[in-house]
Symmetry: D2
């Protein structure tokens, strides 16, 4: 059994620290060799993001929607997710992320916008049908030197949450 994981990064600049936070979170969530990871850096797809139709974008949208877990990560712009990430999500039809487990991640300059992942990004993902089984994760960009410690704590809470929800699923639903 391999878990299909995607990371979607909504930073207009490629290869950002936000991307690093998201992939580090995945590494702390699952043991090596138990998952396949695809990283979608939307910075590489800005010129296509409003194209319609677009094979390139459709393939990305489909890959994300078929994932078991997706980390959606963004820098904080105006206290919330970027227009770039929203434009990607706008391409889905209603309920387009049904059944996908999602973790919202925002990075920011200081604590001022800490509430963003939980009050802005999580409800957006839930509106699309995604399942967000925990707090949004807010990462203060100046703490890159503590990234492992901070991300490990968030991952640990998420893994604990997965187990709590799994208890409700019962053995019969584990197929």
């Amino acid at each position: 059994m391999t878990v299909k994981v995607s990371v979607v990064v909504g930073n207009p600049k490629p290869q950002s620290r936000t991307l690093k936070v998201a992939t580090t979170l995945v590494e702390h969530l699952f043991a090596d060799d138990t998952y396949d990871l695809k990283v979608i850096d939307l910075a590489d797809h800005q010129s296509e993001i409003f194209a319609w139709p677009s094979e390139e974008m459709s393939a990305l949208n489909a890959h994300v929607a078929e994932s078991d877990l997706v980390v959606f990560a963004c820098p904080t712009y105006k206290a919330t997710y970027t227009g770039l990430l929203k434009a990607f999500l706008d391409r889905y039809p209603a309920n387009g992320l049904a059944g996908v487990v999602a973790i919202p991640v925002l990075t920011g300059a200081d604590l001022t916008h800490s509430m963003g992942p939980t009050v802005n990004l999580a409800p957006l993902l839930v509106e699309l049908g995604a399942i967000v089984p925990g707090r949004g994760f807010y990462f203060v960009a100046s703490q890159m030197d503590k990234i492992d410690e901070l991300v490990a704590a968030a991952a640990s809470e998420y893994r604990s949450n997965f187990a709590k929800v799994a208890f409700l699923a019962g053995p019969g639903d584990m197929s």
Copy 2:
């Protein structure tokens, strides 16, 4: 294995339709004899809700925090949860619902406030550490004649969500 379930109703009037929606949801979530249910109708505890300390309230708070699943249900007042429910939740310390799986339910007169459970009640529960693995459930009060159909659909989506999250927990976390 018995699932410990609580229903907390934030309607200032006792024995409300909101309570009925919440308990019906529980009946559709779990098979008979697989769960213990305690219903806390906050209407019965209004005179104690601001008392400090209060053995009565502490016992209720503790029971809820020790539940595996809690349905928090309210009529919609001013587009969001009631002050009565908030006053109950205010009694918890930070992270006081850590590890509790929660389903937010709001009832309303029409569709106008449909977003309330997802944008207002869910973030409040998540702030307290609860896990909300799905959409908030909004129930239009005039549809009591279709309660079983509507609640069954919501319960079905939640059960599907539980299974999706359980897949991420893996067999080893099912202890």
Copy 3:
């Protein structure tokens, strides 16, 4: 012309720092002798807050609804306003604060919940018909030694905002 101003404080403890922040804001908004101020400390009315009917509460609700400006101030509980303040606001019918200019104020321990006044308290007041012509004001409680400086800046921004909106009203609407 005298401006009718109310301060409503949703702290369950009376005579709080939050009350002090709110009244200081009023002092910075208006020149002495240009306004009448009534302070409603909801801590003094907790035993009546769920009573129905209640002459005491009705009189308070009416006074607030007839004010020109109301500062609604609360400590931050669970990232948002308190149940006590919400219970007071729940007593209004739909649109019960129509035409009242309102300033949302939350105090908190650190910057973590800075977004609370704008994303939680302001929309609640707007739902009741109040006019919130500016940012919610978030005050970090440890900065009481800088209260005058911080409050003066917020008051200055609000006064500037009043003038900007007044420009749109035009001279004919100043009756």
Copy 4:
């Protein structure tokens, strides 16, 4: 005295009904010959929206920031504003709409997302420093045959709100 008004439309399709709702609102807010109106249909600027730097976009951003009143109008995508509108707003620095009076407008298929303008678009504009002196306006797209009646009611409420706020500005601030 001429009021400088802008309409910014975040629909990826040009010349939308949403644009019509927004311009109709402006017509109901101000008497003919008392205002200058510029309509910015972001559909016409999609290819530039992520370009950096961009003279075209900078000019648009500047025009909006120098307006006395701006109507920001969008169809509802995923219960909130579009990525296209957000991408336009993301181009501003912090506080980039300081002192601009703004009216948030969302159009939608039914009442389900009625809360969107007040809980999502208004806080975004306020974060940028804009002044939102009233409810967000939500327009159900199927009611285009009643557009004048519905928009007139919204405009009337806004004009009443302007007057209420102007009263607080006092005569001395009307310069």
